[in-house]
């Protein structure tokens, strides 16, 4: 059980931003926990947040598998993306609606092992009819230590004002 849970950084957006990024992440913890509250400027019904690491320009070496319950029922999913959050409200949702997600990134500082991260998320309004909840497991097939986390919307939209993200370091020592 973790005996250290330290906030490494956090931000609440004062204006829309294309991405939220944590850089210079200390390499001294066992795992990382990322806690987000997100909404996108997508004119459609929802945004599709993803994670990338170390400033990667694309989704190369990323895979995910997950389950989601939304208005259409339960769906599975697998694809070549770091799609750990998968849904958050878009511009069609009421102004004060934000989706929440908690993501656990294991063994992030290793320079020899591929990285695995998993998360749970809830989006209070999705596809104009109801909420979405789900859980996803992702892999980054890269042994490089994670020193930077990038949160983006997979369909190229921005995160809306008041979206927030906080990063915590967890140690089991």
């Amino acid at each position: 059980m973790a005996n250290t849970f330290i906030k490494l950084g956090g931000v609440e957006l004062t204006s829309a931003q294309s991405s939220l990024n944590f850089t210079s992440i200390p390499q001294t913890y066992t795992d990382l926990i990322l806690v987000c509250s997100l909404r996108t400027t997508n004119s459609g019904d929802f945004g599709v947040p993803i994670l990338r690491f170390n400033g990667a320009a694309n989704n190369n070496n990323m895979t995910h598998r997950g389950l989601m319950l939304e208005s259409g029922g339960v769906s599975g999913g697998t694809n070549s993306e770091g799609l750990v959050i998968r849904r958050c409200p878009g511009a069609n949702a009421p102004a004060d609606y934000f989706g929440s997600a908690t993501i656990w990134i294991s063994n992030y500082a290793s320079s020899t092992a591929h990285k695995f991260f998993q998360g749970i998320f809830a989006s209070p309004r999705n596809q104009n009819t109801g909420s979405a909840i789900g859980m996803n497991a992702c892999a980054w097939s890269d042994a490089t230590a994670i020193s930077e986390i990038n949160i983006l919307d997979n369909n190229g939209n921005s995160f809306a004002q008041y979206s927030s993200a906080y990063l915590y370091g967890v140690s089991n020592a």
Partner: protein, 77 residues
């Protein structure tokens, strides 16, 4: 006409400093690529979902023609 400047926010975990900086030309181009790829995948998924819904509706119509009640059809789902 003004052009929106897209920016990103960076939180430096070492210093605690938060910066907001404009996207580079390469980052803007990647956003376009991401959006196009997502749109293509979504169109493919939507088409699959529509085909599945049509197949279900067709199957239900055939079951109805065979004499099954809506409750019996629902029980098969």
């Amino acid at each position: 006409m003004t052009t929106e400047t897209k920016t990103k926010v960076i939180v430096n975990c070492e210093t605690g400093e938060t910066q907001t900086i404009p996207l580079t030309v390469e980052e803007l181009a990647q956003l376009e690529i991401d959006a196009a790829e997502y749109a293509a995948r979504k169109a493919e998924q939507d088409a699959k979902a529509a085909a599945l819904a049509a197949a279900k509706a067709s199957a239900e119509a055939k079951l109805t023609a065979l004499g099954l009640t809506p409750e019996e059809i629902a029980a098969l789902r």
